[in-house]
């Protein structure tokens, strides 16, 4: 699972939909992998307004990366290619291959195996 995906996915349990604690899901025992992908500055500029920066800081802390700046790069900062490249590296090229995603509200854990997260729920949680 890419970091960009972790910035958008929420807990699938119905009761958690209304709770702010259900986002972001927290990584546990994560194993990371870098995958080279083509750099697309335009996509980063497109997606950046939708990124939840606080959640991204939390996630990158949990994954053990150096801390991100306090606020989201905006305006002129988006013209800086190095900033965009760093974001591309973090959001798209960094993948969690094994581990768990845990909801902060209900405590349900979603397993990640070979990069695929299992979001199938038992029917009593749907």
């Amino acid at each position: 699972m890419k970091v960009i995906t972790a910035n958008f996915v929420t807990c699938a349990v119905k009761e958690c939909k209304t709770s702010p604690a259900s986002f972001p899901l927290h990584f546990q025992d994560a194993e990371l992998e870098q995958q080279e992908l083509d750099f697309q500055p335009e996509f980063i500029r497109n997606i950046l307004p939708r990124i939840d920066w606080e959640a991204l800081r939390t996630i990158s802390n949990e994954l053990g990366f150096p801390s991100l700046p306090d606020s989201k790069p905006e305006g002129d900062a988006l013209e800086n290619e190095q900033t965009l490249r760093d974001l591309h590296r973090l959001l798209l090229e960094t993948q969690v291959t094994e581990g768990k995603l845990t909801c902060g509200n209900c405590g349900h854990s979603y397993m990640i195996k070979e990069g695929i997260a299992n979001f199938l729920l038992p029917s009593h949680l749907v």
Binding site: V9, R50, E114, N118, V126
Partner: protein, 280 residues
């Protein structure tokens, strides 16, 4: 012709063997590629976008999203969801670029509101018309799916779902559920009346510079004729014209006017406005 939907639930039907056969068959790959490019044409994306692939299977459709050239506004980044582990396994082996989820789209779409620019689904949502256990219903699964999808698309976003309904009941059940969730919905049919006819459910989320529904989407496309059921219904209403003096509608209108003025008006019934029978 037998339908896989009638044989087994999707996670069991697409086992290792079926998944491999499905992905290797050049006939299926061809059809899937054609349908994906048609869906992309309907989505009309101008810049690299974030796309959700519902029922992505082995990534046949997702692969094409990553391959869109920069001149055509690509390549897009996508997330795929599928219920069949074997299909996802094949996708892993083929090293697709998208992020994969093992999830049941009938249980909802677990993403933050406004996540995606667009969604695509090739030959998947008819599976939602089957309820495999007694504690879920097809209607409930469709409702959860469309509500989740509606929330996860950004304003002005579009979704194109190609599907194979078993009959007209399923077709209207699916489009009805989409409309109930808030989508502007329309169905595009390619090669109608032939064996290879294909149905695309085109869903639009209001706002963000996109006006109207599917008629706005296909505007400017060649070889598309628009059959608007709503316009037809409105025409029939208009053709009847205003109520003529003396007919039932006119009488009821007058009675209502009089009642509003505070006059005593006889109760209306099915006999109101009918002629008396001839006495002899």
């Amino acid at each position: 012709m037998s339908r896989p939907e009638d044989i087994l639930p999707p996670d069991l039907f697409y086992n290792d063997n079926e998944s491999r056969k499905y992905t290797k068959s050049s006939r299926i790959r061809n059809i899937q590629a054609n349908m994906t490019s048609r869906a992309l044409e309907l989505l009309d994306l101008k810049s690299p976008s974030f796309i959700l692939d519902l029922g992505c299977g082995s990534g046949l459709s997702g692969e094409m999203l990553s391959e869109v050239t920069p001149e055509e506004g690509g390549p897009h980044t996508w997330i795929g969801m599928d219920i069949s582990p074997s299909m996802l396994d094949v996708a892993l082996q083929r090293e697709v670029e998208g992020d994969l989820f093992l999830a049941d789209i009938g249980q909802g779409v677990p993403f933050r509101p406004g996540t995606f620019d667009a969604a695509i689904s090739i030959s998947a949502i008819q599976w939602l018309c089957n309820a495999e256990t007694s504690d879920v219903t097809a209607e409930g699964r469709l409702r959860r799916f469309f509500e989740g999808l509606y929330a996860s698309l950004r304003r002005g976003g579009r979704a194109v779902c190609q599907f194979y309904p078993k009959n007209d009941v399923q077709r209207s059940m699916i489009s009805g559920a989409a409309i109930k969730a808030g989508f502007g919905a329309g169905i595009l049919e390619d090669d109608p009346g032939t064996k290879s006819s294909k149905l695309y459910l085109v869903l639009t989320v209001g706002g963000g510079g996109l006006t109207g529904d599917i008629t706005g989407v296909v505007n400017g496309m060649d070889d598309v004729s628009v059959l608007d059921a709503r316009r037809k219904a409105a025409e029939i209403n208009n053709a009847r014209g205003p109520p003529r003096k003396g007919d039932k509608a006119w009488i009821l209108h007058k009675k209502e006017q009089m009642a509003k003025k505070g006059k005593v008006v006889k109760a209306s019934s099915k006999y109101t406005g009918r002629k008396r029978r001839i006495a002899f």
